[in-house]
Amino acid sequence: MTTAAINAPATALPADWRDFLALTKPRVMTLVVFTGLAGLLVAPQPIHPVLGFTAILCIALGAGAAAALNMWWESDIDARMKRTRSRPIPAGRMERESALHFGVGLAFFSVILMGVATNWFAAAILAVSILFYVLVYTVWLKRRTPQNIVIGGAAGAFPPLIGWAAVTGDVATLPMLLFALIFLWTPPHFWALSLFVRSDYATAGVPMLPVVAGNRATRVQIMLYALPMAAAAVAPWPLGLAGPLYGLAASALGLAFLALSLAVLMNRATEPAGMRPEKRLFVFSILYLFALFGALVADQWLLA
């Protein structure tokens, strides 16, 4: 079963618009929108609601563009993994070229709209984040190094920085800390997932850490990233950039994250069936980020 054989009959049809929507990975986008919105809301000055909405829209469209270009580049990998096999290109519902054109068009649109509506500094960071995700992560490093996720995490960490910059036109310590937080959060989050879907990555030949270095090393790495991550999350409190509401929430959530990471560290299971701690950590990590940014916004707005 070759991709050409799958593609031949289906690509005679124009792709359904829903497949273009699927290219933007809408579910990943929710987290991007949320952290971008948090960066925008904790900035020290107000922004006109219409311009704020436009800034978040541009962040979402930029993330969608990056996702589409990622799927354009990785259709061969996606075809070999169960989780991604049904994406528009590997499933033969869309030609690769369409995804490329859609992604490039959306990227330009989001950056230009951001520049026109807010400022060109925010637009520049948005452009850098898209290019970083597509060129540095997807094209250059993902297939070459087991640290791919660490680099990919940097791309995902941009939204709060962009949200902040859309309001102020510059960056400051707090958005940099939020950047560091998401950057350090991504490896434990994704490695927990890659532990229990390990066989899939192995099939596709992606050098995911468990594939290359083994389960033990991956669990140690999760713990090693969780520690500075929890510290970066709490840091705005002692630095006086956030109040006690955020500080206490960040401390409690950080301790829970570390406890779940410890459970992963202690786990010796080699088969997905025995990886309850990993699944728990993965699910909690998503909740963690939402709760943390929610607490930060609540803290800033209640103090003000």
């Binding site: 049809l13 124009p14 792709a15 359904d16 618009w17 436009t54």
Partner: protein, 42 residues
Amino acid sequence: MTQHEDEVRRRQKGRAIVMAALLGGFVVLVYAITIAKMGLAQ
């Protein structure tokens, strides 16, 4: 192959409708941005 052509037309129509809605939304957004920017300039 009329069945095939029907499906092509159906998808083209779907894409045209979505594109029209998005363009309409964009026009409204640019209008709103303009008003907001003029408010800020004063």
